[in-house]
Symmetry: D2
Subunit: 355 residues, 4 copies
């Protein structure tokens, strides 16, 4: 079944294809009386917008969001919020070859195997263009949890990582890579340019931190905060791995090393470390929530690769058209949006059960 | 909200605490006319059962499952299947100290922060004992998808990995570590013994492969097969990371390296690689599904660590009682169960929408 | 929580207010490869359209539906189908009085009590205008279950019932009341006209029959076919009662009278009666599904009635503006749509669990 | 799909068959720190217990409930509450004939049509015995909304109604019919006795009122309070009709008659009438919630009736075994339980979205 709704009580449903007339999200369950206009949403979409630097796809989409329902006189009414973004710059002619042959790494073959049929234009529903709707919905989520600050950045591109010691929050918005390390950003400029020129692509790691999440949010056992975050992040196009806190590195630690010791603090415990990434037993501890996501390299590459056609014949395919050389970069606002959406949902769940 | 149900149409709900009278699962949505008796479930529980070697907790639980509903004359009827396991070997006296102070790394503090109150005996609901119910439910899931083979193993303990070249499927059940590499198993024996004797603990990485999953299973966009697997695996106690296919390693690859090329095959494509771990666009490609999980070291350690009490005072706590020195080992049947549960659900979802 | 999604696997979400720019539905879970264009949906909307006779509201809305996603080359793709209808003929000035005082029978006071705030224009979200989105979604549902014929009619207006002996299917679309009894239709013309001229309103009873539903559809126990139908019908504006089969009349029968005897038939049993309305134990028996709905009189009336203002003061209010004198009439296509939506969902659920 | 879970955030799942070893409910989402022991649940089960008078089935079940999880030291912990009731007095031999032939009015044929196979003993899962689990869960729901008083009674049996003017709350628990009118109770004694002796059965109407529900509870549009109540009530065995407020009678009223006029009150409006049954636009108005349910006569009768066998041959069947001559009587605590369960859920939903 095609489940295009996410969330338990703060829920959003997205719709739309890469080359259809529009795409959108319906946000349901938003509390009333929250200030919300297009101006609260647009900046987040602008952050994700294509065509803003040579390191992202050259598709030109204004991505102007319209609120079609759910607000009145600039405030939410508690009814569903319909958000809509028109597709402007489709060039469907670019994708004629894709209609016949499957692009390795893309969802082409899988969609045909499932549905027997697909909208092949720009990847149809499986296109990362859908993430614009998530980012719009995420902006509503942020408005629901104003005390929470969510901040993501790129930590590595093509295996080249930032220097944690050089982390500078102010840098993140100062370069086209959302990179907190100016030196790394300079290296990546060269690296991504080279990939772009070669028609190749690069993977990336995105890190995200949410501060201001009160201890207690989380819904054990099968809507655990970390479980929901994992589902949310893994549902993003191209993501192949998710970590909470130390993630895979924790598997190499001893219990003594991994223990986040506590001391009496002003308001709850002061933790001496945060290996857990702010979550224990699926519930927030009050420490910063730390999440990491691995983005595979964009599957669209110019190098011709072996594949098969719809009729099962051997073929070669090179993906022309406009693509991000490193889809992880524009993944930054999407990761933030998904984290916001999970946290807004968990906030409402928490106050349902626990006041 | 306390969401203790997992799944969309093949759903299970678990209940029970570590030191309550019993625990169980209710499996709902199971198709009718499937052969199912306790004998089909017990072997999987036995695989997870504590006290079978010195490398697991010494709590002695027979973990005998009873089917209380949903079958008739040895076959499922399509109605809810209630599975129940009694707790026999609780020793609640071991946990008196835990009532007052929070064990770092455990859910103690988070549960109190959320609920204002907790069943501290053996971790209560947050205990890994709950995973017995998952394994029982997972056995039902396996019966729903008999063509799928699900196999997990331990890939690394405390940072010491198996040699992929030495992988031997037959070894997995031949040692107490579910280790496919005999040499690694020998090393781990020493390593885990040392940790156990020192009252310390170790993390682990568990790998799982599911073969026989037909191309087409998966429910994009927010019940994607990989998203559901991520949620399922991350909901397991102590798991801090999940990977599909190459996972984080994919972030260091180029598009050319990562492309799973296809050639015409007898029945669908023959793939030349499986970086994707058998999933594209959230839909199975027909290749083996590959999932990895990072287990942190058991948080219960004998070394006294700084913490605070319920009333906010400074304290030290050492976790006495019986524990797994490496919780990842017994995580193997749990990972398998969760993968089975996701796949059974996706199978039913697929035939709902696509026949 | 504002739950604006209905259905288990065939799900739809509606959004939109009476006087917003547009309203719509997102249909999720629709099987692929079903022929679907605007032309398949529009006739059902036309049936519900306001302003078609003097017996319905004089608001003039073309109610032209647009499909914004989920189809490709005239067929469904298995991805979410976004349906949108623009609001054209809002006259928001009609509702200024409503902003300050609560109309008895309307949702005004309840919405304010819940949300602290409301879009008062035309009833905002609580307006029956939302049912246009249901009818659009229902047209998609019909396409999913082409073997099922769903037919509703008005059975009584203001306490004046049709003569069952005069039932003529051909009459239903031959008068503005969806009335299968020509004589009753003639009486109602006078009756509704009188109410309209007096600024009064009338209640109605709508009956619906679905034939061609195979024995076996239904999802016991809490998604029983009759339970889902009851929820669906009761969610329609102004509905205050739902019956399946004989409904309340069954409470006066003896067991012998109520038994639907069976004889061997060509394909399953031949039933000698259908007191059950085609459903037993929450599962379809293969007989026609029979549902009845009671619509209260439209709450909008010209007679001034006692009420209070937002600030709690005494007031009188008469509802000016354009309204249906008998909202049950236009309820006919809405009841049909809801029945179609439930049946499409149950069809998919059935084939998920039972093939 | 077999959906045996009800509720959005306060959810319960039931399991068990009439003649299995036990049946039960798992209540999930209950807030923590609520006083709850078996003694809080048992009285409600006792009210529904069979064998307490000659007007109910002679099956003797103590229906002793056990809480197996979710409480600690007499208070809820916020984790799932597993409630279990053993079946003691099964006499499966009574049902051998039912294995081969379908009882008209029962779910026998429908279950076979759906599942191809059924547990025929006592109706298996379709038996009203399952409602014991609902009543147990309902007792937990009551504890969640202590300010709400829920009270049901029998309003008519076999077409013989109480005199509303004779309504006496104190009478309801003073006779075996939950009848608020002593004179009617006397008549019913004769009537039900006659039916019982004749091996016949009678239908009934049950009325329920919930007071103390604050204005604002309700979750429009598809989890409207009335819609949820309709689903809940219609899911009860033998129920064929549901009304809110005036129900079908409202269809005969004019808008002037139906308007619930308001005057300024101490705390919100004072309503001059309650045709709406306490719900407008799917949201509680603060007036008493009024619900009515029509129960068909018990389908088990001694008179042999025409039917068919599993293999499609003609047959006659008379239902021996122990049955309620009027299943509506024991429906009273079940209706109350379902109303409580819906209200507890709506309470939590409301505070999730609206504080």
């Amino acid at each position: 079944m095609s489940f295009n709704t996410f969330g338990r009580v703060f829920r959003f449903t997205t719709w739309g294809e890469s080359h259809g007339p529009a795409l959108g999200a319906v946000v349901d369950g938003c509390p009333p009386e929250i200030t919300l206009t297009e101006a609260d949403i647009q900046p987040w979409l602008d952050k994700r917008r294509p065509g803003t630097s040579r390191f992202t796809t050259q598709r030109r989409e204004p991505d102007a969001v319209r609120i079609l329902s759910g607000t009145f006189e600039g405030r939410t009414t508690g009814t569903p919020i319909s958000l809509q973004i028109e597709n402007i710059d489709q060039r469907s002619k670019d994708y004629s070859e894709v209609a016949q042959a499957y692009r390795p790494g893309h969802a082409d073959y899988a969609y045909d195997a499932k549905y027997g049929f697909r909208d092949y234009r720009g990847g149809g529903r499986s296109s990362a263009r859908e993430t614009a709707a998530r980012v719009a919905a995420g902006a509503v989520a942020r408005a629901v949890i104003p005390g929470v600050r969510i901040r993501a950045w790129v930590e590595a591109i093509g295996g080249d990582s930032i220097d944690p010691a050089a982390f500078d929050d102010a840098q993140i918005d100062a370069n086209p890579f959302f990179c907190p390390d100016a030196a790394a950003a300079a290296r990546w400029e060269e690296k991504v340019d080279a990939a772009r020129k070669a028609g190749s692509s690069l993977g990336a790691i995105v890190s995200c931190e949410a501060t201001g999440v009160p201890a207690g949010w989380g819904a054990p056992l099968y809507a655990k905060l970390d479980s929901e975050l994992a589902a949310a992040i893994m549902s993003i196009n191209a993501v192949k791995g998710v970590e909470i806190g130390d993630g895979f590195a924790a598997a190499a630690l001893s219990g003594e090393e991994n223990a986040d010791r506590m001391r009496p603090g002003a308001d709850g415990p002061t933790f001496l470390a945060n290996h857990a990434g702010g979550i224990a037993g699926g519930i927030a501890t009050g420490q910063p929530i730390r999440v990491r996501a691995a983005f595979k390299p964009t599957s669209s590459i110019l190098t011709p690769v072996e594949t098969i056609t719809r009729t099962g014949d051997a073929a070669e395919i090179a993906t022309r058209g406009r693509h991000d050389p490193c889809v992880g970069i524009r993944g930054v606002p999407v990761v933030e949006a998904m984290v916001a959406l999970v946290l807004a949902d968990q906030f409402l769940l928490h106050r349902a059960q626990c006041r």
